[in-house]
C-alpha cells in the first residue's frame, strides 16, 4: 500500500475522534446545565452558563483543538510525483 495512505488513514480517524469529542462537549454542557429549571441558571458574560460553555466556549476550544491536531499530528505529504510539470505549465 502507498505509505501516504497510512498517514491519511490515521488522520481520518483523528478527525472522527475530534468530531465525537466535539459532540460530547456540546451535548453534555447543553443538556447537563441547560436541563435545570431556568431559575437555577447561572450566567457568564450575560449568557446562560449552558449556552456559554456549549456554544461559545465549545467554538473556541474546538478551534484551538483543530489547530493543535493539525500542527502537531498531521503530516505533510507530497501529492504529486508525475503531474508537477503540468501544473507549473498551467500557472503561466
Amino acid at each position: 500500500m502507498d505509505p501516504r495512505f497510512k498517514v491519511s488513514n490515521r488522520e481520518a480517524l483523528m478527525g472522527i475522534g475530534l468530531a465525537v469529542l466535539n459532540f460530547l462537549w456540546w451535548y453534555a454542557f447543553a443538556y447537563g446545565l441547560g436541563g435545570k429549571p431556568v431559575k437555577e441558571y447561572q450566567y457568564i458574560w450575560g449568557l446562560p452558563a449552558w449556552f456559554f460553555y456549549s456554544c461559545v466556549a465549545g467554538f473556541v476550544v474546538f478551534s484551538i483543538l483543530v489547530y493543535v491536531m493539525v500542527k502537531v499530528f498531521f503530516k505533510d505529504v507530497p501529492f504529486e510525483e508525475d503531474t508537477c510539470q503540468e501544473t507549473k505549465g498551467e500557472e503561466k
Binding site: 488522520e11 481520518a12 447543553a30 450575560g46 478551534s63 483543530v66 505529504v77 501529492f79
Partner: protein, 484 residues
C-alpha cells in the same frame, strides 16, 4: 428605494462581476480546459480553500432563514446551528489526503469521476449523475428564489426584475470563468460574510443594551427562550442531535463540497484550510444565529422569520453599513448557486456526454458545450424560480439530505473499505434516495429524529450487505494498478 443601502450592494455586484471577467481570461487562455474550468487546475491554497468551502456551504438559510427561526425559538436553535462547527474540519480530515492523492492518480475532476474509477460500473455513474442533477437542481432553484427575494426586498423592484438581475450577475461569471472564477468570488464573498456577521452582531448587542439586559428581557418574556429546548419546547435533545448528521458530519457526502477536497494544491493548504474553515464557519453560525435571538429584544413582534435580518440591519446600523451587511446573504446565496451550477453542468458534460456519448469530443466542442450547458441550466432554474414553490428551506434541506443519503457511503467506504463494490454503491445510492423521498412524504421525522437519519442507516446497510453478497470480482482496476 434607499440609495445609501443600495450603493454598497451595487458596488459589491460590480466587484464580483469584474473578478469573474478577470479570471475568465486566464481560464480560456490556459491549456487543460476541463480540469481548469471545473476544478481550477488543483491550485487552491489554504485560505481560499477554507473560504470557498464555507461560502459554498453557508447559504441563504445561514443568514436569513436560520436567524429568523432563532428569533422565534431562542437559544435552542443557536445550539442546533452549532452542529455545523464540525463541517470546518471533518470533511477535509476524513476524505483527507487519500482522496486528494487518488483523485490525482486517476485524474478525477468530479465526484463522479472518482466513483466511475472506483466502481467501474455504468449504473453507479448513471444513478449518481441522476441524483446530483435532481437534488442540486431543486436546491439551486430554492437558492435562486432566495436571491431574487433578497434583491426584491432591498431595492423595491418587482420579483421578476430582481430575479433577472440576480441570474445575470451569477451567470456571467460562472459561465465565463468556471471553477476558478467561482473560487475567487467565493473567497471575496466569504470575507464579506465574516465581516457582515461581526458588524451586525456588535450592532445588535449595542442596540439591545448589552448581553445581560437582552437575556433578562428574553427570560422575562418567555423563560423557554433561553433554554436549549426552544420557545415552544419542540426541540428535543434527540431531534437537535440528529442535525449533527444533516448539517454536520453528513456534509462529507455533498458533491459541491467533496469536489473541493480534490482541488487543493498540497497538504499544507489542506491543514491551513481546516484551521481557518473551522474558525470562520463557527464564527458565522454562532454570530448570525445569536444575532437572530437578540433581535427579538431590539425589534419585537415580527411575524415572518425571513424579514428579521433585513429589518434588523436597517434598524441598528447606518444605511451604508447595512448595505454591506445585507451583501452578506446575497454573497452566501450567490456563492452557493455558482458552485452548484458548475457541479450540475460538469456532471452532464463530463460524466455523461464525454463518458458515454462522445468520448473523442474535441477540446473546442467540449468548451462550447460546457458554456452552453451551464447557460441552459441557469435559464431553466430562472424559469422555475419565476413561479417558485413556497418552500425555500424545505427544498434546500431536502436536497441536502437526499445527496447525503446517496453519497456518504459510496465515497467514504469506497475510499477506505477494500471490499466495497459496484453492487454496494448502486444499492446504497438507490436505497438512500428512495427511502429518503418515501420517508419524507410518509413519515417525516420518524421517532423524533430528522428524516435524514434512517436513510443514511439504510444506505449503509445496503452498501455493506450488497458488497459482501457480490464479492466475486473485488479485484478492480484501481487495486490491480496499486492505486488504492
Amino acid at each position: 428605494m434607499n440609495w445609501e443601502v443600495l450603493l454598497p450592494l451595487i458596488g459589491f455586484l460590480i466587484l464580483m462581476f469584474l473578478a469573474g471577467i478577470f479570471t475568465a481570461r486566464q481560464v480560456t487562455e490556459g491549456p487543460g480546459f476541463l480540469k481548469d474550468y471545473f476544478l481550477g487546475g488543483r491550485h487552491l491554497g489554504g485560505f481560499v480553500l477554507a473560504l470557498t468551502m464555507v461560502a459554498t456551504y453557508g447559504s441563504a438559510s445561514s443568514f436569513i432563514g436560520g436567524p429568523g427561526i432563532a428569533y422565534n425559538l431562542g437559544l435552542g436553535w443557536v445550539l442546533l446551528s452549532m452542529a455545523q462547527l464540525v463541517t470546518g474540519y471533518f470533511t477535509l480530515a476524513v476524505l483527507g489526503k487519500k482522496f486528494a492523492i487518488v483523485a490525482r492518480k486517476i485524474d478525477a475532476v468530479t465526484l463522479i469521476d472518482f466513483l466511475k474509477a472506483r466502481y467501474e460500473n455504468k449504473w453507479v455513474v448513471i444513478f449518481a449523475a441522476a441524483s446530483i442533477s435532481i437534488f442540486l437542481f431543486s436546491s439551486t432553484a430554492a437558492q435562486w428564489v432566495g436571491g431574487g427575494r433578497l434583491i426584491e426586498s432591498f431595492t423595491g423592484v418587482s420579483y421578476p426584475t430582481a430575479l433577472i438581475i440576480f441570474s445575470f450577475s451569477v451567470l456571467v461569471y460562472v459561465v465565463a470563468g468556471g471553477f476558478r472564477a467561482v473560487v475567487i468570488t467565493d473567497t471575496l464573498m466569504g470575507i464579506v460574510m465574516f465581516i457582515g456577521t461581526l458588524i451586525i452582531l456588535a450592532g445588535t448587542i449595542v442596540a439591545g443594551g448589552g448581553v445581560p439586559h437582552i437575556i433578562s428581557t428574553l427570560s422575562a418574556e418567555n423563560p423557554n427562550l433561553i433554554t436549549p429546548f426552544g420557545a415552544d419546547k419542540s426541540l428535543t435533545p434527540l431531534y437537535v442531535s440528529s442535525f449533527w448528521l444533516l448539517v454536520g458530519v453528513g456534509v462529507v457526502g455533498l458533491p459541491q463540497i467533496t469536489v473541493r477536497a480534490m482541488s487543493y494544491r498540497n497538504s499544507k493548504a489542506m491543514h491551513q484550510a481546516m484551521i481557518i474553515g473551522t474558525f470562520v464557519v463557527g464564527f458565522i453560525m454562532l454570530g448570525m444565529h445569536l444575532t437572530g435571538v437578540f433581535a427579538r429584544v431590539v425589534i419585537p413582534g415580527i411575524e415572518v422569520g425571513d424579514k428579521v435580518m433585513p429589518l434588523l440591519a436597517l434598524k441598528v446600523l447606518p444605511g451604508w453599513l447595512a448595505g454591506i451587511v445585507l451583501a452578506a446573504p446575497l454573497a452566501a446565496v450567490m456563492s452557493t448557486v455558482n458552485s452548484i451550477l458548475l457541479i450540475v453542468s460538469s456532471s452532464i458534460v463530463k460524466d455523461v456526454y464525454i463518458n458515454y456519448i462522445k468520448p473523442d469530443a474535441s477540446e473546442k466542442s467540449v468548451k462550447r458545450l460546457s458554456f452552453s450547458v451551464t447557460t441552459i441550466i441557469g435559464v431553466l432554474v430562472f424559469l422555475v424560480a419565476l413561479h417558485p414553490p413556497d418552500l425555500l428551506i424545505w427544498l434546500n434541506l431536502f436536497s441536502f439530505g437526499g445527496l447525503e443519503a446517496a453519497f456518504i457511503w459510496p465515497v467514504v467506504l469506497g475510499l477506505y473499505w477494500k471490499k466495497g463494490n459496484a453492487a454496494g454503491a448502486a444499492g446504497s445510492i438507490v436505497g438512500g434516495v428512495v427511502s429518503y423521498i418515501l420517508l419524507d412524504q410518509l413519515a417525516p421525522n420518524l421517532w423524533g429524529m430528522h428524516t435524514v437519519v434512517l436513510p443514511v442507516v439504510i444506505s449503509l446497510a445496503a452498501y455493506i450487505v450488497l458488497s459482501l453478497l457480490f464479492q466475486k470480482n473485488t479485484e478492480n482496476e484501481l487495486s490491480r494498478q496499486n492505486i488504492m
